[in-house]
């Protein structure tokens, strides 16, 4: 059993990792055909992952409701909403509208999901303003630099700011294009090198946490 649970997945990872890293550099039709087939598998696996995710969510919240854990009422609401949406979605054949007429599924999407998600995001503006007032203080030189840069970018990104301080637009562009882009690029290169190192460790079986059960 340990062979099936450990060695086989490690072998599959090693072979597929090496083959598909090499595939990128081989434009032969056979190599391209192989990539076409495998991306179809990926889509099918993606579909299964969605089913797995939904069933896992069902399981976690069913346990919370059964054990009457703290906040189990929210889990109940989630359960009812999810089951209701799935049932109505199946009934409406997954369509929000048929021949221009809104279905029940479309009604849920347009009048529940869209305003709820919009509200959640809109509330952020209020909390950002409150948090900025309470914590955006020039406590050190670094914080002062950050504060000044933030004020310039905020002014430069809106017409009123550019109207009041005409230079703020160009200054904001310079901060974004030069300072921000160079720092972001350095971070990106670091992250990418880390990703390459982690991929090599996974391909050669040095990193096995994705198999579950912790390190051996």
């Amino acid at each position: 059993m340990i062979f099936l649970r450990r060695q086989v997945p490690l072998l599959i990872t090693l072979i597929t990792g090496l083959v598909f890293a090499a595939q990128y550099y081989v434009p032969h039709p056979a190599s391209e055909q192989m990539l076409t087939s495998v991306t179809k598998w990926l889509q099918i696996i993606g579909g299964f992952a969605l089913v797995l995710g939904v069933s896992s969510l069902f399981h976690v919240h069913a346990m919370k409701i059964r054990r009457k854990e703290a906040g189990w009422g929210y889990s109940f609401v989630l359960y009812v909403s999810m089951l209701g949406t799935i049932a109505i979605g199946l009934w409406s054949n997954g369509k929000e509208a048929v021949d221009g007429t809104m279905t029940a599924f479309g009604w849920i999407y347009n009048f529940m999901m869209v305003p709820l998600q919009g509200t959640m995001f809109a509330i952020l503006a209020l909390f950002i303003a409150s948090a900025a007032y309470r914590s955006f203080r020039a406590r050190s030189r670094e914080a002062a630099v950050l504060l000044i840069a933030a004020v310039i970018v905020m002014m430069g990104r809106v017409p009123l700011g550019e109207y009041l301080i005409p230079l703020s637009g160009d200054l904001s562009q310079w901060i974004l294009n030069v300072l921000n882009a160079s720092v972001r690029r350095a971070i990106l290169i670091g992250v990418s090198l880390g990703t390459v190192a982690l991929s090599i460790k996974i391909i050669f079986g040095m990193e096995r946490s994705y198999l579950g059960g912790g390190k051996e």
Binding site: L42, G46, L116, G118, L126, A132, G161, G169, Q173, L176
Partner: protein, 281 residues
């Protein structure tokens, strides 16, 4: 408790009220300040403008309703521009929760511009697999989307004539609110299949995409509501983005004033504390 201390601990509902009023009043009484066009937004506009009639324009609406206020106006402006230029529009989404919204915006603009589904444009909908869908489309478009969102087979559709995969796309734009989004379209799409790519994103995400812009990995970037307002100005059709710019101006200014006030009180408190410790010593 001193006045400065009291002001620093002000009830947050007052701040909420200030922000609420700064949003509401400009929407009710718009000022309409002029909007300056940035080079990154002009990059997208100029490229679409340079495309000949019948070119293939792929628009991936990779966002959900949470980002609707910023990305919906961008989608409307881009679609209006593409339809006006008589480009063949291929729309899709990589975000399952945004499928209905993407369908609505594409259908609404197409109807407004007198365009026909299957002939002038197609909405492919969503397909599982996340970034794998981009590779799949790069290899075989019909394998990734055998049917469009309405269930019509994609093979043989007049709008897709001569298109086998992403290599046949003249220009692609991802309007992304996260992952998969603009970066994924570059890494898994443009880099291998060599089509020109532009991006649109929320205001929060824009600074993170500037390295891609500066290196030419994307040829233009529409950032947030401001970017959408700039695009509306460029195509000469005022929409929700331009209407929202006054509100955004007012809220930005309100936050700046709040931060300055908070720092003034903070420094006055710090000076008081220093003076007290000196007199105590």
């Amino acid at each position: 408790m001193t006045f400065a201390e009291r002001m620093l601990k002000i009830d947050r509902r007052i701040i909420f009220l200030v922000i609420g009023l700064c949003t509401l009043l400009p929407l009710l009484y718009p000022v309409g300040l002029p909007i300056k066009i940035s080079p990154e937004v002009r990059g997208v506009y100029d490229y679409i403008e340079s495309l000949p009639e019948g070119s293939v324009f792929l628009l991936s609406l990779d966002f959900d309703p949470a980002s609707k206020p910023e990305l919906h106006p961008q989608a409307i402006s881009l679609l209006r521009h593409a339809f006006r230029k008589n480009l063949r529009v291929v729309a899709m989404t990589l975000w399952v929760s945004g499928t209905g919204m993407a369908d609505q915006v594409v259908t609404q603009v197409a109807r407004e511009m007198g365009k026909e589904s299957g002939k002038d444009y197609v909405f492919l909908g969503w397909s599982p697999g996340g970034t794998a869908v981009i590779i799949n489309m790069g290899q075989d478009l019909y394998g990734a989307f055998p049917a469009d969102y309405n269930g019509k087979p994609t093979k043989g559709m007049p709008v897709l004539q001569g298109i086998a995969n992403l290599r046949d796309v003249n220009y692609a734009i991802s309007l992304g609110a996260g992952n998969p989004g603009v970066e994924a379209w570059y890494v898994f799409g443009k880099d291998k299949y060599k089509f020109e790519l532009g991006g649109g994103c929320t205001g929060v995400m824009a600074p993170g995409l500037y390295p891609l812009l500066r290196s030419g990995q994307i040829n233009g970037l529409i950032g947030g509501l401001r970017g959408a307002a700039e695009y509306e100005t460029l195509i000469g059709q005022k929409g929700k983005a331009i209407a929202g710019m006054d509100a955004q101006s007012a809220t930005h200014l309100a936050i700046i004033v709040l931060v300055i006030i908070c720092n003034l009180f903070y420094f006055s408190m710090r000076r008081q504390a220093t003076q007290q410790s000196r007199s105590g010593a």
